[in-house]
């Protein structure tokens, strides 16, 4: 793949690309409480960008500032080169899909979807055509005359999406778009949402607290905590190369060991931790003796009943304390000899009945991992 090709898929790598949405030093205070604290953000055309974080982290406030429902205390942002500070909500090139859907209860599906077009003075016949087209896209053409209270949760969600899309905004803002759906429907709708975004080519900004949803949907994720971005990156970067304990812990599950740097050289680092010496096969800019953290994903640890062939780093011995059977995988909670608890997941490749090397409670086990798996974190 040429460099140019890579830039089309990942415009944030291109140093010459002009961001579509530029957020500069935005702060929002509610009284003494700072909801969003001096953040910068670039989002590129056509992205499906996720703001991910727990409740109260400021992600919804940021979204509401983009929509124009909240005014930033300081800072500025622009969409497609236009400064947004003095543009009221009803004139912004953004549309929002609300968490509660906010469908007008006194209007039919058709009237709800056509509302925005009517407000911008689009001729009646054109409204009808565009409403029909968009309802076809979300497969609701037979529900035109229904009122919102006659729709299921999934149907309401699609009406809300159609209503926000029909005006063809430059940016679509989605606040927990799948939050009100049950698990099965949510998984199915994730892919629908991605397909629709691909078809219409509109830039999506999604707010969610669900890390799985963020991983599936997005081109890039911004993990938010206490009003600031902890890390911005692609799903893979965020998962495989978290930059802080918060991100490592928030995305997926992880074992975190505290330790001190024993040896630091150009191509590897050794850290003494609660789980024994950990060898990392690439260099890091840390001082000898510095206090650091090692994050180790449970699925990256191997679990065996046989002792390793040779002594060395990246291995440990312990006793199985608990087993959680999840069907596809099992989680083993192993207590090391020094008392440290480590979670390990292992796929259930064969049915338990036929398993010859079945590991069970109170059994001695050996853990090992490759030198490329541990992540060294300084914060």
């Amino acid at each position: 793949m040429s460099e140019q090709q890579a830039y089309i898929d990942s415009p944030w790598l291109d140093p010459d690309a002009e961001p579509f949405i530029k957020v500069r030093g935005i702060t929002k205070k509610f009284g003494a409480f700072t909801a969003v604290n001096n953040v910068d953000l670039d989002i590129y055309r056509g992205e499906l960008f996720c703001l991910l974080g727990g409740s109260g982290c400021g992600k919804s406030t940021l979204l509401r500032m983009l929509a124009g429902f909240e005014q930033p205390t300081s800072g500025s942002f622009s969409i497609d080169g236009v400064e947004m500070a003095n543009v009221p909500a009803y004139e912004r090139p953004t549309n929002m899909m609300f968490q509660s859907y906010a469908l007008f209860p006194h209007m039919t599906v058709e009237k709800n979807v056509g509302y925005g077009l009517k407000q911008s003075g689009v001729p009646k016949s054109e409204i009808e055509d565009r409403v029909n087209d968009i309802l076809k896209l979300v497969e609701l053409q037979d529900f035109k005359k229904r009122k919102p209270h006659q729709l299921s949760g999934g149907q309401s969600q699609r009406v809300a999406l159609a209503r926000a899309l029909v005006k063809e905004p430059k940016v679509l803002l989605l606040d927990e778009p799948l939050g009100a759906l049950d698990k099965r429907l949510r998984e199915q709708t994730q892919f629908e949402l991605m397909n629709i975004q691909e078809k219409v080519g509109i830039t999506f900004i999604v707010v969610t607290h669900d890390q799985e949803e963020a991983m599936t949907l997005s081109t890039r994720i911004a993990v938010m905590d206490a009003g600031q971005f902890s890390q911005i990156g692609t799903p893979t970067e965020i998962y495989e190369f978290p930059e802080s304990r918060f991100v490592a812990d928030f995305i997926g599950s992880t074992n975190i060991f505290e330790g001190r740097v024993a040896e630091e050289s150009g191509d590897h680092v050794t850290v003494d931790t609660e789980a024994g010496p950990v060898l990392i096969d690439h260099g890091m800019s840390v001082q000898n003796g510095a206090r650091v953290f090692i994050a180790l994903r449970p699925e990256k640890i191997q679990l065996t009943k046989e002792p390793p062939v040779a002594a060395g780093p990246n291995q440990a011995k312990g006793v199985v304390e608990d087993i959680g059977y999840l069907g596809d995988v099992s989680i083993y909670r192993v207590r090391l000899d020094n008392g440290t608890l480590v979670d390990v997941t292992a796929p259930n490749l064969v049915r338990p009945k036929n398993r010859t090397h079945k590991i069970t409670w109170e059994e001695d086990v050996y853990l090992s991992w490759s030198a490329s798996s541990p992540i060294l974190l300084t914060k």
Binding site: G68, F69, A89, Y90, M96, F98, A102, L103, H106, Q119
Partner: protein, 323 residues
């Protein structure tokens, strides 16, 4: 009104225990008899003191006026041949519908209460909306201030306006002192004073149901409308107004119904110049002692108000269902 309640579980239990032992039967008798008492007491009270009086009024409205005590003829009479006959006289109704005074009064009542209702709505709507939009502590304080006048005397609130509107009253004195006018404007004992009085005393009846309705409105609907390009005025007419319609109807009826039958306000503030049906009825009864005509006027007023009353009941029932 219809009964939408399903059967209580009590009769089903009765069926299940077809032949219980004697002791249980007696104890169950006691259990069910206290329930009958609970229903019986208020029920019989309302039948005797609420429903029966209307039957009597209806009866008197079709009787003849007599100079006697009571001053009306009996509905049922034994004729000389010993046969029970019913005498229905519709003269009273013909009389009030042929007499200009009654027809004018009837129409004037509707006019005054309709305009007052509209004024209450125009003043009450922004006040209710302002309360909803206030921060929680201010909101409670404002609500309290709206309700407080309910607890003071209605009569004295009307009286307060007599002092303000009189020829020598506060407003005229003030305007003369300021040099705006030289001779007092006649405000008391006019239709204007009646409008002021009705709006003043019934404004809370408009504000409270409106507030209750607006309080339930979801602010995200306003945001959604703004997001879709609607300007504030457009949001008001396309979203807020239609969604507050139940509150407008409830508040409107709560003002219209009592205002139509109002007696104190036209009497004290309108004087002899303002004709309203409630005052006419009162005078017909107390001054003219024409009971059958008073009864007929009452029935006519009731007929006028039956539709709004049923509409109000209908809305209340729908609200209760939604809860």
């Amino acid at each position: 009104m219809t009964d939408t309640m399903r059967d209580s579980p009590v009769p089903e239990v009765d069926k299940a225990l077809e032949n219980p032992p004697l002791g249980a039967r007696i104890s169950r008798k006691i259990q069910s008899s206290w329930k009958s008492v609970v229903v019986f007491l208020p029920y019989s009270w309302l039948l005797i003191f609420f429903l029966l009086p209307f039957v009597i009024v209806a009866k008197i409205s079709v009787a003849e006026a007599l100079i006697a005590s009571p001053p009306f003829s009996s509905l049922l009479e034994w004729t000389d041949e010993g046969i029970l006959t019913i005498r229905v006289v519709i003269d009273n109704f013909l009389y009030i519908f042929q007499d200009d005074l009654y027809v004018t009064t009837y129409l004037n009542s509707i006019k005054i209460s309709s305009i007052s209702t509209l004024l209450c709505l125009l003043i009450g709507y922004p006040i209710a909306y302002g309360i909803v939009r206030s921060p929680p502590t201010t909101k409670n304080m404002l609500l309290f201030m709206i309700i407080l006048p309910f607890w003071t005397s209605f009569l004295l609130r009307v009286y307060a306006w007599m002092g303000l509107l009189a020829d020598q009253g506060t407003i005229n004195n003030l305007l003369i002192d300021l040099g705006v006018i030289e001779t007092p404007i006649r405000m008391l004992y006019s239709e204007f004073a009646v409008y002021v009085g009705i709006v003043y005393t019934y404004l809370p009846f408009m504000i409270l149901p409106l507030y209750a309705n607006m309080e339930k409105l979801d602010n995200t609907l306003n945001e959604a409308a703004a997001d879709l390009g609607a300007k504030p005025t457009s949001i008001f007419f396309t979203v807020t107004l239609p969604l507050t319609m139940p509150g407008i109807v409830a508040g409107g009826l709560l003002v219209f119904i009592p205002a139509t039958g109002e007696f104190v306000i036209p009497d004290l503030l309108g004087g002899g110049n303002v004709l309203m049906i409630g005052r006419l009825l009162y005078n017909e009864f107390h001054a003219n002692h024409d009971w059958p005509v008073a009864a007929a006027v009452a029935i006519a007023l009731l007929v006028l108000l039956v539709a709004p009353m049923m509409l109000y009941q209908h809305y209340q029932a729908k609200e209760a269902e939604a809860r």
